[in-house]
Amino acid sequence: MWTYNKRLQYPVKIARPNAALAKAVITQYGGADGELGASLRYLSQRYVMPYEELKAILTDIGTEELAHLEMVGTIVHQLTRNLSMEEIKNQGFSDYFVDHTIGIYPQGASGMPYSASTMASKGDVITDLMEDMAAEQKARTTYDNILRLADDPDVKDPIRFLRAREIVHFQRFGEALRITTDKLNSKNFYAVNPAFERK
């Protein structure tokens, strides 16, 4: 179960709306490497994890991703507040606007709605942890690209925080992988899948 704290994990306060930038940032809300997918991936993978540390890591990182989803939603919301129809047209926001007005919808930058086909829950410990490490790096690259596109310090500051979290999570998943391989046969880590074949 979960409870809600009525505050953000890190401050978001964007003075200048920018619809074009909002369309890029929303990819971390519902895109292929976004926070929604990250949370669902970890919270779904944890059920068959055979080791206690892995259950804890996936639960807590999956929870933090929900706090990041809220931060990204907040960035997009503040970037799209008080837009005039002229700004919506001139900043390339008409296609999003016609479908969602200024509501927050989980989609990628290209407009593709969130799809679980962008994540895996394979039921194999090494496979899932490698997926998770790759996912953190893909999200880090996406935040790097957002930083290349953004010139507003109000946006860059929380994006830099989110980028740094991807690196910390990568580190924790690396430790989870080491915990796993320490328990397996070092001559053949793949001889058994401890999420399925219990000994």
Binding site: T3, Y4, N5, K6, R7, L8, Q9, Y10, P11, V12, K13, I14, E53, A56, I57, D60, I61, E64, E70, G73, T74, H77, Q78, R81, V168, H169, R172, E175, A176, I179
Partner: protein, 87 residues
């Protein structure tokens, strides 16, 4: 930034320290240094939360009192833009 926002930022910072220690302890549950830092920082956060909530209302719905029940529902919500706020 007014006093309320300063306190919210302090809470966010303190909570971040605790959260980061928590993730570290998930992977290294035997680490005694991290565990004692976790306990110390947990107490600091609890103190800040109690102080904030007694002045400005609940950050968690379970912390409402008969006097500040409306404050849970009231604006601003975390995503609302405010000139001063942001946490």
């Amino acid at each position: 930034m007014d006093e309320k926002d300063m306190m919210r930022r302090k809470i966010a910072m303190q909570d971040f320290v605790l959260w980061e220690l928590g993730l570290f302890l998930d992977a290294q549950p035997d680490n005694k240094t991290a565990a004692s830092m976790f306990t110390m920082n947990k107490e600091k956060l609890a103190k800040l939360m109690t102080e904030y909530e007694s002045k400005y209302g609940p950050l968690d719905q379970r912390h409402i009192t008969p006097d500040n029940r409306w404050a849970w529902v009231a604006d601003p919500w975390p995503w609302d833009y405010s000139e001063t706020g942001g946490v």
